[in-house]
Subunit: 358 residues, 2 copies
């Protein structure tokens, strides 16, 4: 296939910071961008050529997006898969609806992980209180009950410590399909950010070690302080997942690791994100080409660039009022600052990040 010519137009569904960074990467490569996003002040629209202000599943808006663009992508996995399926009939969409559907559903995701030979935490599908009781008999307690779909940053999940919490936990799912997951006592969480191109070529960035605070990513450290075999295994699983899904674009796989510094390590797939990922933001500071540009290259039919990094680094998320540390971080000559243009610094809101090169 031929790559998109300069000035071709890329549609991006979703106007948050990931869409913003994708739009800037597209601009670097000479591509135009149109953002589909209901919020008129969205971070991505500020740096894009155009915005369609409409809901993600608005049929007329999706038609208009297809008309204006040469390829469509999205910045978050909660875009309705029916919208992507409809778009796919008229325009190339990467990643495709099949990859999206699986990564939208914690149950399908875990089943797929087992299918490619990876482990996950023990899990049990929960559509009734009876399912939940059966599940707990299998996973033990504590365990975590999660909605199968639409959860992120700890939303839509409940930790269960005692048997008498089962009814309230089940009610908290509000009738949505759920999944019970065994509580994994992991030493650390790592993630792989990788890209797969239309021709099947594959590039994985170095494994990041992630620390969360209040269920939100706090830092990613590269290189991860884990056994080299942990890294190789994580990347191997990421590649198998990409091939299984015939994936095109950048994606993230999060893993839980026990005994991460020993040859007797135990690694579980936690989650797959069919998009650029917060734990890959460091790539813009420490690699020739960032995860954002790598994604744009993949979906445009350009060759992937190398994922090698030139520096060790730590990425720190700026949450809420942390955005006001701009002036402080500007004084650190090893700091690469990136803010998202969000007008209001609400608590828990991702406002930006800083990558400290070592």
């Amino acid at each position: 296939m031929t790559a998109l010519a300069p000035n071709s137009t890329i549609g991006i569904i979703g106007g948050g910071q990931l869409g913003r960074m994708l739009a800037m990467a597209a601009a670097h490569l000479g591509y135009q961008t149109v953002i589909l996003e209901p919020d008129p002040n969205a971070p991505a629209a500020q740096v894009a050529n155009d915005q369609i202000i409409a809901a993600y599943d608005d049929e007329i808006a999706l038609e208009s997006l297809a008309d204006q663009c040469d390829v469509v992508t999205y910045e978050f996995e909660n875009v309705p898969s029916a919208a992507i399926e409809a778009l796919e009939k008229v325009i190339p969409v990467y990643p495709g609806a099949q990859a999206l559907k699986i990564s939208q559903d914690r149950l399908l995701e875990k089943q797929m992980a087992h299918g490619i030979g990876a482990k996950t935490a023990g899990f049990h599908a929960v559509n009734s209180l009876k399912d939940l009781e059966d599940g707990v008999a299998q996973t033990g307690l504590p365990a975590i009950l999660k909605t199968r779909r639409l959860g992120y940053d700890g939303k839509g999940q409940v930790k269960i410590d005692n048997m008498d919490e089962l009814p309230s936990a089940f009610e908290a799912m509000a009738g949505q399909d759920a999944i019970l997951e065994a509580f994994v006592n992991f030493d650390c969480e790592v993630s792989v950010i990788a890209a797969r191109a239309i021709d099947g070529s594959f590039e994985a960035f170095d494994v990041a070690e992630n620390v969360h605070k209040h269920h939100i990513l706090h830092t990613s450290t590269i290189p991860a302080n884990v056994n080299e075999s942990v890294k190789a295994t994580a990347i191997k699983y990421a590649q198998k997942i990409a091939e299984h899904l015939n994936y095109v674009g950048v994606f993230a796989v999060e893993f839980f690791v026990e005994n991460a510094n020993s040859d007797g390590f135990n690694i579980c797939v936690n989650e797959i994100a069919p998009r650029v990922h917060n734990s890959g933001h460091w790539t813009e500071a420490a690699c020739v080409v960032s995860q954002f540009e790598q994604h744009i290259r993949a979906i445009s039919g350009l060759a992937l660039s190398t994922a090698k990094r030139h520096s060790d680094c730590v990425m720190l998320n700026l949450i809420g009022d942390d955005v006001n540390d701009l002036e402080k971080h500007a004084k650190d000559e090893k700091a690469k600052i990136h803010l998202y243009g969000k007008l209001e610094a609400r608590p828990g809101r991702k406002m930006g990040h800083v990558t400290f090169l070592k």
Copy 2:
């Protein structure tokens, strides 16, 4: 002074590729941008928050720009200095009108260079044919007659080889004030890209060695293949010029060098550009912070970052149809590509650049 808070707005006069790269750097730091530019399809407007579509000296547009912004800057030295003077009365403008006026005028520029102890090619102000004859008696032939103002990329200048060309050369100036410059037989051209902050702090990027084709920059190579004393002298002059002008922002000084690899070198100031500069585009690929972000930091009151580079590199301009080499360059894993979103690839038009890291 306190730095601009996140979401403050920066006005940029001029909507070309330099304005575009400034707007993206501002967005990285969480600042909003408004572009003043008559062309509705300008590269900068594509990635900015807003555009005022009007002439650079449109009074109502300038008022509106001042109303919407917290600080104003510009991407090119041919903005009318009267416009900057008017703006300065109501809003901080960096660089200031004084620096702009001098760098707009080849005669004042050369006089200033002598004032800070630097050499230039021999020169003579030309307002009449008689002036031109007197000038040639001083500079010898060949020599170059240039308009004092508004020339760039070889426009507005005539090389004179023989005495009988004097009348036609003078006529080519079309009544504009002109300057005759001795023809310097230089080995090489180098440039310094540096930044000076509001508090007077100063950071110079490494000296670039520049090769032109058809009067347009072709490549910049870093490090320059010149004697270390040449580099130190060039940076020393750049700092003196910045201090003399009480300059705020990023600027470029181009130098001609004879015997560049010997201690008996001869270095002349050729030109000062009160703005980010084509020969500094490599900084985005080889430094933590690019010339564009450095400029935004300077005019926003943020600390300057280090100008140290992490890699040697060569920047190649993509002129006209060179933009179609996108796919080829994408296959080079040492190449950092940057296209400008220009819709038409006219011959001689700067369409993008590629920095090849070593």
